[in-house]
Amino acid sequence: MQHYTMNLTLKVWRQRNNKDAGRFESYPVNNISSEMSFLEMIDVLNEKLITDGGDPIAFDHDCREGICGMCSMVINGRPHGPWEETTTCQLHMRAFKDGDMITIEPFRANAFPVVKDLAVNRGAFDRIIQSGGFISVNTGNAVDGNSLPIDKDMADEAFAAAACIGCGACVAACKNASAMLFLSAKVSHLSLLPQGKPEKKQRVVNMIAQMDKEGFGSCTNTYACEAECPKGISVVNIARLNREYLGASLSGD
């Protein structure tokens, strides 16, 4: 693709802290390369803001390789921007053209309070994982992998679910701010495998209870989460979560 440069106007959500009401502010950014990533483009703006004595825009990022789940942002109404199965850090400026105005907002959900500007606190996801998103392993030697046969299809499905990076785009995309796609991925990747089976029932019950406690909405099956997920997690996992929850509820203690 032909390289080009562009001048853009960014409309960015600025919020000093969790108590601040927040507002949009517009910034022109010039001479942006089409080969830059979206975060590099914001780096350029932040350097200019710092040089001018202003307050740089706070945003989350870590690996910038599309695997850590830290970058967030809603770009023109789309979590992680317009490209499918792409995190914000892997979104490149060739997605935009000269003269574009880009509106950048934080992931909005009451369960994800804004820390500053575009950075939100996604600790609710950590607490959901703590409530059951693990397997309990007693100490001892690691067993031989081949002693535990696993169906190839199951392994593939579990792996596809395990691709969830816990970024929270599903919550940001959902009209109800529901965390069901995240939860379904975590429940699926464990319960499909033999290691996850012993704690299968209490896992799903505890994780749903924690999700409800954290103030996420409930799922109404609009599937916006699947459309926005940077890792392509399927809503088939939500059906599995529903099935497991119903089963655990009807047959559990």
Binding site: C219, T220, V236, N242, R243
Partner: protein, 236 residues
Amino acid sequence: MNWSQLFASSIGKKITMALTGLFLIIFLLVHCYVNANVFFSNPEENFNRAAHFMGTNLLIRVTEIGLFLGFILHIVQGYKLELQNRSKRSVKYAVSSGNVTSKWYSRSMALLGTLILLFLIVHLIHFWVPSRFGGLTEVEYDGKTYHNLYGQMQDVFAQSWVVVLYLIGCFSLSWHLLHGIQSAAQTFGWAHKNYMPVIKNVGAAFAIIIPLIFALMPICLHFGLSLDAGSLTLLF
């Protein structure tokens, strides 16, 4: 974990919606079947006899109580869920992704449900209230008197605004079912790769065909059209 915890949870509330929704779908099927008498030969007598059966059969009258409860549960739970879900994002987005990532009717179930509810109230006033509490003329077949509910249909659907209102009701129902049926299947956790497409396609066909048959009734009666689908009658 006990059952009260199940139905208090976010998934449990959805299960209530799905269960009552499927129950109401069965009602739609029966209602459509009975009313389809108006399309066949000798519509007045056959429809009035069928309506008489539905209004006097003990089993059906008992089921009717369940039907009202099903409606109330579906409506109350639906509104509660909508309000709860709306409260989960206090600061709204400035830019919406619109129809790019989801269907408008999937996001508008409460609005469509409200339109159906308004239609339902008018519909009950037109037909259910007079057939239960009087106000219908009577006809006689084989020495036995029947409510002339068919005559009531002719009177009600003579008014153009009523026909328009019923058509809005049918369209709303169609969109509501188009999301609702596959959504109920998802809530029950039916996601097998072989039978899920069947559920989705049969559900979509149901969501279009049943409201279409309902919509044809006021249209046919308003314009005096007779489909006269032959001598086959759906008599009770």
